[in-house]
Amino acid sequence: MRSTYGKSLPDMNLSDLSGKLIVIEGTDGAGRTTQIDLLKPWLEELGHAVLDTGMARSSLAGDGIRRAKEGNNLGPVTQSLFYATDFVDRLENEIAPALRAGFIVLTDRYIYSLMARAIVRGMDPVWIRSIFAIALKPDAVFYLRVGIDQLVPRVIFSRGFDYWESGMDLYPGRDMYDSFCNYQHALLTEFDHFSQEFSFETIDASAQPKVVFAQLKASILQLLDSDSRETYLSKLRADSSEVSVHGIAGNSAPALREATRAELNLVLHPVAVHSPNGNGHGVPPRE
């Protein structure tokens, strides 16, 4: 039976939430969205119904949060509780019903991001944990970890610095770069604490997206039924054999075969990517 972090919501029956709840966590720019966009069609191809959800997407509070963030007077307590409202609306109306219907729920961030953001804004860690004690425990949390040195170029060369992602509400008057580094560093510190407390599986997200994707697939396959595993394994075996790879000829075929073999190896020996102590394989040391 599924459990929560200590408190139950009224009318939430925990006994029939049979789907899988998979969390992709990580700071801004860690590549969470890219991975979810890859994982969803892959899981659907294996025959699973997938719901993807993420912060501020609730029909109740999503617009309200966006409007509130347009101004500069959203206080830290209010912000924390507004996001909690959004989270619970999705928990009750999207996540739980999907789990009840046997879906795989892929969530872009979960309570951990919300707690980390609240704590770096000065909220009491005990207080914010007590609020999110109503959250369902997920089946797996994949923490895509990137150090600040890699994060900065990703952000600069994609969308530029954002007021909230740079924690400008916390460090007003500084320039966006300094503020961004301070804020993201504080978030990383919280995430690193959480990774042990909540048994995250840490994945080095500074690697190529396809490498991260292969690791995620290998770990997620372990959560799925044996049919899904077998289906995917036989596909990988076929692709990595000497026969042509889906009609791809020429020079790219050997490289592709090699990548497939590497992935096959990951799926067959998933221990290699696991991080029982939360200090993941190949993860750069903390700043």
Binding site: K7, S8, L9, P10, D11, S59, L60, A61, D63, G64, R67, A68, G71, N73, L74, G75, P76, V77, T78, S80, L81, F82, A84, T85, V88, D89, E92, N93, R121, G122, M123, D124, V126, W127, S130, I131, A133, I134
Partner: protein
């Protein structure tokens, strides 16, 4: 409250969230701000708003800088609450959380800065309204008390005690029909809105009664004449203003 034991939430001191919520909120009025916070509580039809507005006029006439803050009035949050109520999207949990968000915004944006500045702040409904309503909706008692740990403890929390029938008689004369959430229609207690209102307000009344000793609410008999109640209220408020910083408005 002993500020030194407090954990800082945001830029201002609140009572220590690591303490049991009950023990910390019980220390009414010890919050070390130069201003004073007075709040009124009671079920619909208890006459609390009338009493607060009379208190407001009296304090203003005496020259105090008075600010009034109403439940559910944050400019950042109220549209979301309105949407949730109109479309009946709110569950007991999101009903609870969106009201705490509204309250947090008023606390951060107005109540705390005003108390720091030395104002007399008057609130029509406070955290006890949330505790009563949310628990009546099935929310965990401890969880909702924890949710509001950032609240400033009031100098005095007046509870206007009135029998359910008296309150209902006052209300049914004054307006037509009850709103969906106000009558607790989301709980499917009865298909009839007046009957649902009666059951739901009865539960809320039970919760208020439990909170009188828990939080040391100051009980006013709301069946007494308006003038008699107001005399009691003013007498109690006067005692709490003695050592207050007097942010007086120029006449």
């Amino acid at each position: 409250m002993d500020i030194s034991s407090g954990v800082r939430i945001g830029p201002f001191e609140v009572f220590a969230p690591t303490h049991a919520p009950v023990s910390s909120i019980r220390r009414n009025g010890n919050h070390h701000f130069p201003g004073r916070l007075f709040i009124v509580e009671g079920i619909d039809g208890s006459g609390k708003s009338t009493q607060l507005s009379l208190l407001h006029k009296w304090l203003e006439a005496k020259g105090y800088g008075v600010v009034f803050s109403e439940w559910n009035s944050s400019p950042l949050v109220k549209d979301t609450t309105k949407l949730g109520k109109k479309k009946k999207m709110l569950t007991p949990a999101t009903f609870s959380l969106i009201h705490s968000t509204d309250f947090a915004d008023r606390t951060e944006r107005s109540i705390v800065p005003l108390l720091k500045a030395g104002a007399v702040v008057l609130c029509d409904r406070y955290i006890y309204t949330a505790f009563a309503r949310d628990v009546a909706r099935g929310i965990d008692r401890t969880w909702v008390r924890g949710l509001y740990k950032f609240a400033v403890p009031p100098a005095v929390a007046f509870y206007f005690r009135v029998p359910l029938e008296t309150a209902i008689a006052r209300l049914t004369g004054a307006r037509d029909g009850f709103k969906f959430y106000e009558a607790g229609m989301d709980l499917h207690l009865s298909d009839d809105s007046e009957e649902s209102f009666r059951i739901f307000q009865g539960r809320i009344l039970d919760e208020y009664e439990k909170m009188v000793p828990e939080f040391g609410l100051t009980v006013i008999d709301a069946t007494l004449p308006v003038e008699a109640q107001q005399a009691q209220v003013r007498h109690i408020v006067r005692m709490h203003l003695e050592n207050a910083k007097e942010l007086r408005m120029r006449p």
